[in-house]
Amino acid sequence: MTQAVLEARGLVKTFGHVVGLAGVDLTLYPGEVLAIIGDNGAGKSTLIKCLSGALRPDAGEMVLDGTPVSFSSTQEARDAGIETVYQTLAVAPALDIASNLFLAREVRRRGILGTVFRMLDTSGMRKQAKQHIDDLGISTLQNINQAVETLSGGQRQAVAVARAAAFGGKVVILDEPTAALGVRESGQVLKLVRDLRARGLGVILISHNMPNVFEVADRIQIQRLGRSAGVITPTSHTPAEAVAIMTGATTIDQVRDAHQTTPTG
């Protein structure tokens, strides 16, 4: 099998007495979509925040492309090639779309204007931002100079997704990227996820939308109460079984046993 692009072992994260993660493993291969599902509060966001440098795990190890890593900031993770769309989107409301796309990775002008006067290449960044958005086929964003706070929820989500997709080097993490989107826009994001996979990136997709998950994921990791309840694939299990494991109505072993005694599929 190919080498995993991102591997996490025994991640633990507590918030005071609240246990966010109680020792979680995760393996992501290049060119695959790994979906993470689980009830509210199951620790999905906490897990990906540990992977993206937004939270520092209390314990556990991470390996990126064969090298052990530990990120103390999201910037470090981004520099290492991990881009993330957070559930809260993490956009700067008062800044425009182009500025948001290049937030914390601004491009300066060439020559003395850039080196001494630190002047930003605003028009260059706008052009590139427009290019990225066109390439990604995001049709809901018309005016690149519009302040993000004047956008609808779905459009803001599109900005956050565009930022991650445009700059993702190895891994793109999407925490409920379609939550505020209509059917058509959700379809666009799913297409984008497939495009990223086709480019050979590893994609982690958190979603509560079972049809979407079963449509696009290669493997599905089920989180339950801060632990991983197991990893399934869209062919090995039905959405109903996934939900049953997710809610604790059954376990992955019980489902496997049931499959073996009554091989119907």
Partner: protein
């Protein structure tokens, strides 16, 4: 009836576009140009006073207005940086006075060369800001409380250090150089006024054209989002305090030139006046919104009212009242501008 149906927005695309009502357009305009409404107030006030008393519009008088606005105006640059981070600096006036006293006393009592005395006072202003910034960013204390505390500390230090002394500096030295007048036609600008204008130009550039400026806005707007986006928000915040401290150091020099000396009681109103200028200038107290040029306009508005009402022969107390009304109007306008889904 059938045309109604045809005109109704149909696709999701159209529904996503903001509707183009006149109110919406004004809203968008003010959103993009936060200094526009104070500019209109300034221009209208100047025209009204100019008509009421032609002496108001005389270059000599306008020069006085500018000179009177120089200290508050330059301090307001520093205050703007802090307020953009959703903070506030109540100690800014106390620090500027402390810095002037250190500069003046070193030169006057100890015979330290003017430039060296300036450097030491400047450094003290930066250190004071560093203390504020450290308490805010490292100990995560609210800026209002931190600077309320340091306001008392720096005021006390000033009074202890001054020993009730008011210092008059000899004209012609380095420390009072900012009071030197430069005639431009019938206008009499001082070096201090020009220095203030340079500060505005410099920071308008830094806030709009550099990554530091964008990060400052993003951090003030939504610190957690900025952090997740990869901005080192702690560093950005601390840098805002330190840079504001440097601005206060320069303001101290302007103040020395303006009063040709140092007075421990000179800065009693400077704290609030600098905040007033920033707020009237359209910068949001909630952080992340506003333009530094607005603070210059805000400082000028206060001086124009002061000067204009006096020329028209109105009780000066009405000036205080008018400034109060402007502050509330500015905050109400900011509230409306921030409400996006109107």
């Amino acid at each position: 009836m059938s045309t109604d149906i045809l005109d109704a927005p149909g696709t999701a695309e159209e529904l996503l576009q903001p509707r183009n009502t006149p109110g919406r357009r004004v809203h968008d305009l003010l959103h993009r140009l936060p200094a526009l409404s104070p500019l209109i107030v300034l221009v209208v006030a100047a025209i009204v006073f100019g008509i009421a008393n032609p002496r108001f519009a005389a270059p000599e008088n306008l020069s006085i207005v500018l000179q009177q606005a120089a200290v508050v105006g330059s301090l307001a640059v520093g205050q703007t940086l802090i307020i953009l981070t959703a903070g506030i600096d109540l100690s800014i006036g106390a620090v500027v006075v402390l810095a002037t006293l250190v500069m003046a006393k070193l030169a006057h009592d100890s015979g330290v060369p003017g430039f060296l005395a300036f450097l030491i006072g400047f450094l003290i202003a930066v250190l004071a800001a560093l203390l504020n910034g450290w308490l805010v960013t490292r100990l995560k204390l609210p800026p209002f409380i931190v600077t309320l505390g340091t306001l008392s500390i720096f005021t006390a230090l000033t009074l202890i250090y001054a020993q009730g002394q008011t210092l008059t500096l000899d004209p012609g030295g380095f420390l009072t150089f900012t009071g030197t007048t430069i005639a431009v036609g019938r206008f009499h600008l001082t070096v201090g006024v020009l220095l203030m204008l340079v500060l505005y130009l410099g920071f308008a550039y830094a806030l709009r054209q550099t990554a530091w400026g964008r990060h400052l806005y993003a951090t003030g707007d939504d610190p957690e989002a900025a952090r997740l986006a990869g901005i080192r928000t702690g560093r950005v915040l601390l840098s805002a305090y330190v840079v504001a401290g440097a601005v206060v150091g320069i303001s101290a020099w302007i103040l020395l030139g303006r009063i040709q000396g140092a007075d421990p009681n000179a800065g009693i109103n400077l704290n609030l006046e600098s905040i007033t200028a920033v707020v009237i200038g359209g910068t949001s107290l909630f952080g992340g919104r506003g333009a530094v040029v607005g603070s210059l306009i805000g400082a000028l508005i206060v001086q124009v009212f002061d000067n204009g009402l006096a020329l028209v022969g109105v009780d000066p107390n009405y000036q205080v009242l008018a400034v109060g009304v402007l502050v509330i109007a500015a905050v109400a306008a900011d509230q409306w501008i921030r409400s996006v889904k109107s």
